[in-house]
Structure formats: structure tokens, C-alpha cells
């Protein structure tokens, strides 16, 4: 029990430190780059996961996999969607009030957000029809094929996709702070001759730590 509490406190403190860093950067007008987002978001998600659901670190509580857990998740997703749409709308209004112009991309996203549930409703209703139309038949086929793919494969595909996005993302010059910038900040510019061992070791350590934390998170999810 003591170990569970220590783990939860550790994650909580790490989350607070990372959030404080983002707030500090916001307040002082510093750049909030991908490095901040990529470190803060996973730790915060892991912390919330650990304090919410039953896991090896929290023996008592609702499991994410049981039916009440799934109902709670479904409710949260609906709530998140509504809040997200509200934030988008407020953002659009604020943008219009401050700059006098409207953000076209945001309008398109909001429009898709409004239309998407109706489109999905139409498709799902078609799958329940006694004689579904072509869209309904196609959706049923996709549902069937998707259900045949194991969770492990889906998760693996998700990781590979995430990894590819991170590796090959568009990088506008000087816009986002990346892991490379952190290496330069810590160890200086790379020398032209020879191999710098310290940045290499640091990178290996960070990759190993991220891999270990990811493995623990997956294991925790499986055991919860």
C-alpha cells in the first residue's frame, strides 16, 4: 500500500512540475514546443489513469475493463466532445472579437464536429436495418473485420503510427523546440569530428526510460 501511495505521489509531483513549466512558459511568453507537450501530456495521462482506475498501484476501485468502467468512459467521451466543441466555439468568438477576422480552419473543424455525430448516426442506423443499404453493408463489413484484429495488433499499429508522426512530422524552421534542441542546450553544438558520447548516452537513457514507462503503462492497463 505504501509503495502504491509513493508511486501515485511521485507521478503527481512530476505532473505538477511539468504543468508548472508550461504555465511559466505561457506567463513569460516563452515558446511551448513539442518537447513540453510530449513530456507533460503522457505523464499527466498516466497520473490521471493511476488515480482513477484500479491497477497494480491502486488495488481498490473501478476497473476500466468492467462494464461500469466502460460506461463511465463512454460518458466521459461524450462530455469531452461537448466541452471541446464549446472551447472551439469560444475560441472562434474570441478570435473574431480580438482580431476582427474568423479562423477558417477552426470553422471547418467545428462544422465537421457538428456534422460527424449525425453522419455516424446515419451509418450506424443503417447497420441495424433489416435490409441495410450499401453504406450499411460496408460499415458492417468494416466492423466485422475490425473486431477480428486483436487488441495487441491495434495497439502496435497505434504505436507505429505515433512513432512515424513524431519522426517525420513537418518541422517549420525555428518554430518548435525538439529533443535535438534539448541535447544542444545540455551538451552544446555537436562537434564536426568524432562522435560525442555524452549526448548519445543521454539519448539512449531517455529512449530506455520512455520505453520502460510505456511498457509499465501497458502492463498496468492489462492488469487493471
Amino acid at each position: 500500500m505504501m509503495k502504491d501511495k509513493v508511486f501515485q505521489w511521485g507521478l503527481g509531483i512530476a505532473s505538477l512540475v511539468l504543468i508548472a513549466n508550461v504555465v511559466y512558459r505561457l506567463v513569460f511568453g516563452l515558446v511551448i514546443g513539442e518537447f513540453e507537450i510530449m513530456t507533460t501530456a503522457p505523464v499527466l495521462i498516466w497520473f490521471l489513469f493511476t488515480v482513477t482506475w484500479r491497477s497494480p498501484y491502486k488495488k481498490e476501485g473501478i476497473s476500466r475493463k468492467e462494464e461500469l468502467g466502460q460506461k463511465i468512459e463512454s460518458k466521459s467521451e461524450q462530455g469531452s466532445y461537448t466541452i471541446l466543441m464549446g472551447i472551439g466555439l469560444i475560441g472562434l468568438l474570441m478570435d473574431w472579437m480580438i482580431t476582427g477576422s474568423t479562423n477558417t480552419v477552426l470553422i471547418i473543424i467545428l462544422l465537421i464536429g457538428v456534422l460527424l455525430p449525425e453522419i455516424l448516426n446515419y451509418i450506424i442506423v443503417q447497420t441495424y436495418e433489416i435490409e441495410p443499404n450499401a453504406i450499411g453493408r460496408m460499415a458492417k463489413e468494416i466492423q466485422y473485420r475490425y473486431s477480428k484484429i486483436s487488441r495487441k495488433k491495434k495497439r502496435g499499429a497505434g504505436f507505429i503510427l505515433g512513432f512515424l508522426i513524431v519522426m517525420f512530422r513537418p518541422r517549420p524552421e525555428g518554430e518548435a523546440r525538439s529533443f535535438y534542441d534539448v541535447l544542444v542546450y545540455l551538451f552544446g553544438e555537436p562537434s564536426e569530428s568524432g562522435t560525442d558520447i555524452l549526448p548519445l548516452l543521454f539519448s539512449v537513457a531517455v529512449i530506455a526510460l520512455v520505453s520502460y514507462l510505456t511498457y509499465k503503462l501497458i502492463k498496468e492497463y492489462d492488469e487493471s
Partner: protein, 65 residues
């Protein structure tokens, strides 16, 4: 939907935690069902009925529409 699960459970001298363990759910799930905060799925209703040694229909009070 109202149910008799609390009464049936207490008659069999089972705690919420024990019934939850038998049905492989959390204690919170049994508590939510007993307090009518949550209607169980058919699968869980059958599991509860089996562990309380009653039929599924005797678990619930159907008050009509």
C-alpha cells in the same frame, strides 16, 4: 430499474465485496446497482442471479411503463 439485490445478498450473508468478487466486478459496481444508479448488463445480471442462487427475473422489480 429497481431491484432486490441488496435484500437477497443480505439474506445470504454476503458482503458487497464478496458478491463483487464472485461476479468479477468491483464493489463500486454492486453498490451502484443496489442503489439504482446503474442497470447491469444481461451478462452481469445472470452472474449476480447465479451467485445469489435465484432467477434473473426475481432480481428486478418491474413497475411497468
Amino acid at each position: 430499474m429497481d431491484n432486490h439485490i441488496r435484500i437477497l445478498r443480505e439474506q445470504r450473508k454476503l458482503s458487497q465485496a464478496k458478491l463483487a468478487e464472485l461476479c468479477e466486478v468491483s464493489r463500486q459496481t454492486i453498490n451502484a446497482i443496489e442503489n439504482n444508479k446503474y442497470d447491469p448488463s444481461l451478462q452481469l445480471a445472470f452472474d449476480i442471479a447465479e451467485n445469489l442462487e435465484v432467477t434473473v427475473d426475481s432480481l428486478f422489480k418491474h413497475g411497468g411503463k
